[in-house]
């Protein structure tokens, strides 16, 4: 009964979506305020209906209702409740429901925080979002229904893939989708602006916080996925340039470019057309990512071709959304105008450089991800594009981008003076260069890449300090603390996010430069030494889990003869599908991780064992977290809160120009 309620709620939601995507947009076009007023209640109603559907599916999982096909396919009676609930997004159908649910959450948020928007704008935004949700609801109801019954009911479920039975993986998809779908708001803003033909600075100011919030979620989502791969796959790697990963990274790159381009549109009224294109791009890539991961096209192009219903629907949907918005763009963009001019040395130019490089990087990832699929689809052979390709393309593209990242915040808008800039930055550059050259030599392993990585990281931090010092000189206030308090939160947010990149680079560079690994056969009582730590294998015992049995190894770790820690890696066998999985043991630290995973049992209680010493590896995810925190800080800035409250009464021109000077 409950699943039918969920199913019915989805059908009603589709009806509401049809109304929401037609009447308000038409109303905005003809200026009928009664029709426009439909948008808000429709969006809220849709949220409620999809919430009911989502809870119904959750109930079916909690209730172990194996007469629902999706529940039987992704859970098991032995599976603990929290993983049963997480199994809602454990496979195709449910993750689409999650996607739609999150879309309605964003729609609901738009209805809450858009009171200051003009009616036409708001109804167009909600209308566009309604169109997107209509597509997804239609998809679920026609070819991918999570509530489909299985008659007769299965005695027990097939269980959730053991790899997904993990806290990191529970949080990863919702975070990622919050990011993906969050870009739909920026997209809807862009389309609404194209429809209305009024793309001004106010438009950019409205869409900035939405974009930044979505970007924060996406950053956290990607970091969670990467962390999960690190500790769950037992290989100690944190990024594999796997198509699944690339699918989430491409919208991130486009979204990062969008955030910076929006800054120019907001502050200077420039880059308008480009910003709109980026907003379309970011959301299109989010859709593409969903398509790549969820249509099965990555698993096998040909399997996808033989069961084409789902894939064709998504492809058609992609074509409609991307094609439609690009046509609209081509038609309406000339009206929008180009915005003010700027000199070659100016903050606009630096941000343009950043945008070009980020988009080029995105394009190279896109090429490496899609090219093998194309070849395969055309039967021209099977190839794979390995990590070396991405590594060798990414470093040269990101190096200038990060160099610009240091300079950008210090350069004036419109026109800056090159010699003056060089003078302000010479100390930062000197310190970075000397430290980057000296540090690896002191640490005893000099390589060009190591120095380059450190140079970029230190460059970001030193230029941030220079920028902060100059900023403090400009604000009024007695005493350092008072001045620090005067600096706007969006500025702090930017500095913090940039420093997050620095922390991330340190992590990547140090892991690449100094990690050591060893695959060894270890008898009971035998020791192996790696990175200054001595591991003694004390044997493995059998243990029982709720839905698995495991061999748990005991490792005694010591450093310089002193006890450091005990580590217990496991080799689990999940009973429902008889699948073996490695559960690595990790001793995390600020400066290093120790990582032990069990290979296979050999004779006499011996095991093959993989040992890693990974310096600074946690800085990779720490950096991502700092970036996201920077984004949150920027969104909490006073200017947005002011904007919420009194968009109608114009902010006095004098204070605005004063603020702009500081910015």
């Amino acid at each position: 009964m409950i699943p039918e309620i969920g199913h019915f709620a989805l059908i009603l939601a589709l009806c509401v979506a049809v109304v929401q995507s037609s009447l308000p947009i038409y109303g905005a076009a003809v200026g009928n305020s009664a029709l426009m007023a439909v948008a808000k209640p429709a969006a809220r109603g849709q949220f409620l209906l999809v919430l009911i559907a989502f809870c119904s599916l959750g109930y079916a999982f909690a209730d172990k209702d194996f007469s629902v096909l999706y529940v039987a396919a992704t859970s098991n009676s032995q599976l603990p409740l929290h993983y049963r609930l997480a199994a809602i997004w454990g496979a195709h159908e449910g993750s689409l429901l999650l996607w739609t649910f999150i879309l309605t959450i964003w729609m609901f948020a738009v209805t809450l925080f858009s009171t200051h928007l003009p009616d036409t704008m708001r109804s167009r935004i909600l209308g566009v979002m309604g169109l997107v949700s209509m597509g997804f609801l239609l998809f679920m109801l026609t070819v991918s229904n999570p509530f489909e019954r299985l008659i007769p009911a299965a005695a027990d479920g097939r269980d959730l893939n053991p790899l997904l039975q993990d806290p990191g993986m529970v949080m990863h998809p919702p975070m990622l989708y919050m990011g993906y779908v969050g870009f739909s708001v920026a997209f809807a803003f862009a389309i609404a602006a194209l429809l209305g033909g009024n793309l001004d600075a106010a438009w950019a100011r409205w869409s900035r916080p939405w974009t930044t919030v979505a970007w924060c979620f996406l950053t956290i989502g990607i970091a969670l996925g990467s962390g999960w791969a690190y500790y769950e796959l037992g290989w100690g790697g944190w990024w594999f340039w796997d198509p699944v990963e690339n699918a989430s990274f491409m919208p991130w790159l486009a979204g990062t470019a969008l955030i910076h381009s929006l800054a120019v549109t907001d502050k200077r009224g420039g880059f308008k057309v480009w910003t709109v294109l980026l907003a379309i791009m970011a959301f299109s890539l989010s859709l593409l990512g969903t398509f790549l991961v969820r249509s099965g096209v990555l698993t096998s192009v040909h399997a996808f071709a033989t069961d084409p219903k789902r894939g064709l629907f998504i492809l058609a949907f992609l074509a409609v959304v991307i094609g439609g918005s690009l046509v609209l763009y081509a038609w309406r963009a000339p009206r929008v105008g180009l915005g003010g001019g700027f000199s070659l040395v100016s903050r606009e130019a630096m941000l343009l450089g950043n945008n070009v490089l980020l988009v080029a990087a995105m394009g190279s990832v896109l090429l490496g991800t899609l090219y093998p699929l194309f070849l395969d689809a055309l039967d021209l052979g099977k190839i794979s594009v390995g990590p070396p390709y991405f590594d060798s393309v990414f470093a040269p593209l990101m190096t200038p981008a990060i160099f610009l990242m240091g300079i950008g915040p210090l350069v004036q808008w419109k026109k800056a003076d090159m010699p003056d800039l060089a003078k302000r930055l010479r100390w930062a550059f000197g310190v970075s260069l000397v430290t980057a050259l000296a540090l690896p030599i002191i640490l005893g392993n000099w390589t060009p890449l190591l120095s380059l990585g450190l140079l970029l990281a230190i460059w970001i931090v030193t230029t941030a300090l220079v920028s902060l010092r100059e900023r403090l000189a400009h604000v009024e206030g007695s005493g350092l603390m008072a001045r620090l308090m005067m600096v706007s939160r969006s500025y702090w947010g930017m500095l913090l996010a940039h420093c997050g990149i620095a922390v991330f680079i340190v992590g990547v560079t140090m892991v690449k430069g100094f990690e050591t690994e060893q695959d060894v056969r270890m008898n009971v009582g035998e020791t192996a030494t790696i990175g200054g730590y001595t591991f003694r294998f004390d044997g493995a015992q059998d243990v029982m889990g709720p839905n698995y049995t495991a061999a748990r190894g005991t490792f005694h770790v010591s450093q310089d003869g002193r006890d450091a820690t005990m580590m217990y890696p496991e080799k689990r066998r999940y009973t429902a599908q008889n699948q073996v999985m490695t559960e690595a043991a990790i001793d995390s630290g600020l400066l290093r991780d120790l990582y032990v995973s069990l290979g296979e049992p050999l004779d006499d209680g011996a095991w093959s064992v993989r040992l890693y010493y990974k310096p600074f590896v946690d800085w990779i995810w720490g950096g991502c977290l700092i970036m996201a925190l920077g984004g949150v800080l920027a969104v909490s800035d006073r200017r947005y809160r002011l904007a919420w409250r009194r968009e109608a009464q114009d902010v006095p021109a004098a204070t605005r120009t004063a603020r702009r000077k500081v910015a």
Binding site: R158, L163, H302, L352, Y389, S392, P396, T582, A606
Partner: protein, 155 residues
């Protein structure tokens, strides 16, 4: 500079960056493509010499042996038509099993053994590497030998 010249300078600079990026990308792309071959293609000598490539198929039942160091393993990858002996030193992924699909990357040495530098495990819901499934399907389609017990399809 006049606005006109400025615009040209910016456009020129943008194009230059794009050109450099494209050159970089295509160059890296060319040298990092890893081609995939089936055991039949390996047996027919279609594979590149001195360059790393991937093979895929099924790990033959009973072919897995382990040397005394516990790390060096030997097994046979087959597409049911031809067999390729593979050597690998290291820990095999969890999803590696006799009678299941596998993909290995490495080079062919003079005695016809494939020395793998990497044995791949994909982390998605599908337990059969797609390349391996296709190698089997191809060999089957060409009529070499068919046996329905051996074609491992994802559930």
């Amino acid at each position: 500079m006049k606005p006109r010249q400025k615009r040209f300078a910016i456009i020129g600079l943008g194009l230059l960056v794009l050109a450099v990026a494209t050159a970089l990308v295509l160059n890296a792309f060319q040298s990092n493509l890893v081609f995939f071959f089936t055991p039949t293609q390996v047996a027919n000598g279609e594979v590149p010499k001195g360059r790393s490539f991937r093979i895929g198929g099924m790990v033959e039942d009973g072919s897995l042996t382990r040397e005394g160091d516990g790390l060096t393993v030997h097994f046979v990858v087959t597409d049911m038509a031809k067999r390729v002996p593979v050597t690998y030193k290291g820990i095999l992924p969890d999803l590696f099993k006799e009678g299941k699909g596998a993909v290995a990357q490495g080079q062919l040495v003079a005695d016809g053994t494939f020395v793998a530098s990497e044995v791949l495990a994909k982390h998605d819901e599908n337990y059969m590497p797609p390349e391996a499934a296709e190698a089997l399907a191809k060999a089957k389609a060409s009529g070499a030998q068919s046996s329905n017990t051996l074609v491992v399809q994802p559930q």
